[in-house]
Assembly symmetry: C2
Homo-oligomer: 195 residues x 2
């Protein structure tokens, strides 16, 4: 084998490493890996890059680059810029990560929590109705109602937390903790205030 590295890792490319690391991170957060990779390449580049550059560095086909850039632009994570002498499109990264994160949370997580809250509300209503009209055993229905009520409480607190987060207010997870705890000791308090 060729001369072994003495002290510093050879073949450890910092840029490459960061690109892949952020890629993994984004993948974990529910995005395609390439979104994170592409954004990172731009974030680490002092100059705007053309899609060919990006494709080269990330080993992506032109179509993949185009698709990924499109998605990133929808999230506002990448901006298109013109470079005077060049006919091609150049791109730069949005550098305010806070802005990116809050936008995603607003558009994606918050919408999801809201949908879920709505669904739980409907379920709660339908269940009460079903109990009144006599379908469904009373005991099981009451149990379910309580459990669903607990989920509703949780989702409303979650919604509040997310809302506070995106507007930069302090959060107190103990609120969730109280709601998300075991429910054995639950007293028969009635319905709660809606979402």
């Amino acid at each position: 084998m060729p001369a072994p590295p003495i002290h510093v890792d050879a073949d450890f490319d910092p840029e490459q490493a960061v690109v892949e690391g952020v890629g993994r991170l984004m993948e974990f957060w529910g995005f395609r890996r390439h979104l994170g990779r592409l954004w990172t390449v731009l974030y680490l580049s002092p100059e705007p890059l053309a899609s060919t550059d990006i494709g080269d560095r990330l080993q992506l086909s032109p179509s993949a680059v185009s698709l990924t850039i499109g998605e990133l632009m929808q999230w506002g994570a990448v901006k298109k810029t013109k470079v005077p002498g060049d006919r091609r499109d150049f791109y730069t990264a949005e550098t305010s990560i806070w802005r990116l994160v809050t936008r995603v949370v607003r558009q994606r997580e918050l919408a999801l929590v809201r949908d879920t809250a709505e669904l739980l509300e409907r379920a709660s209503g339908a269940l009460a109705e079903a109990r009144r009209t006599g379908r469904l055993g009373a005991a099981e229905a009451r149990f379910m109602e309580r459990r669903i009520g607990r989920l509703r409480l949780l989702s409303s607190v979650g919604e509040k937390l997310l809302g506070a987060f995106v507007s930069g207010m302090p959060l107190d997870p103990n609120e969730v903790r109280a709601v998300g705890g075991r429910e054995d000791a639950e007293d028969a308090r009635g319905a709660h205030d809606g979402a």
Copy 2:
């Protein structure tokens, strides 16, 4: 068509709806959908259920049920219980959602953030080294170093936030906001304190 519903949705099964809703939620959070579905069925059931019951309600094959239950038990989301007269295994849901969430955050998100922080640290070091030994243009290297430094800052703050969250302490997102903001106005402050 048969008599249209007058006021209440027929064919809206509350249990079914909640099961699917939580399933979606879990899927979004990086788990397989069935994990959320199965947990919910147990959560909404007053009695422990056997795997056959579960398979029936969720339309899952026995092997799928077994696999899913195994995974849920690893997360502590489901417990196995014995029922006197019955030879089969019965299962119940962990009802403390707070406990579930914090465990997942601890084991999964926190580990991820730590790994990323470590990687960024390595990259930072390698980059400084590369710059000293003269590989890599000085200008570009300095730029990257600054940007990576910013990412490191962010990840260390994120780690702190997650840590605070799982131990139920109040959080202040403004800390992230400050670090995650645009970096244009950045002054040439030196390196920061490590992770």
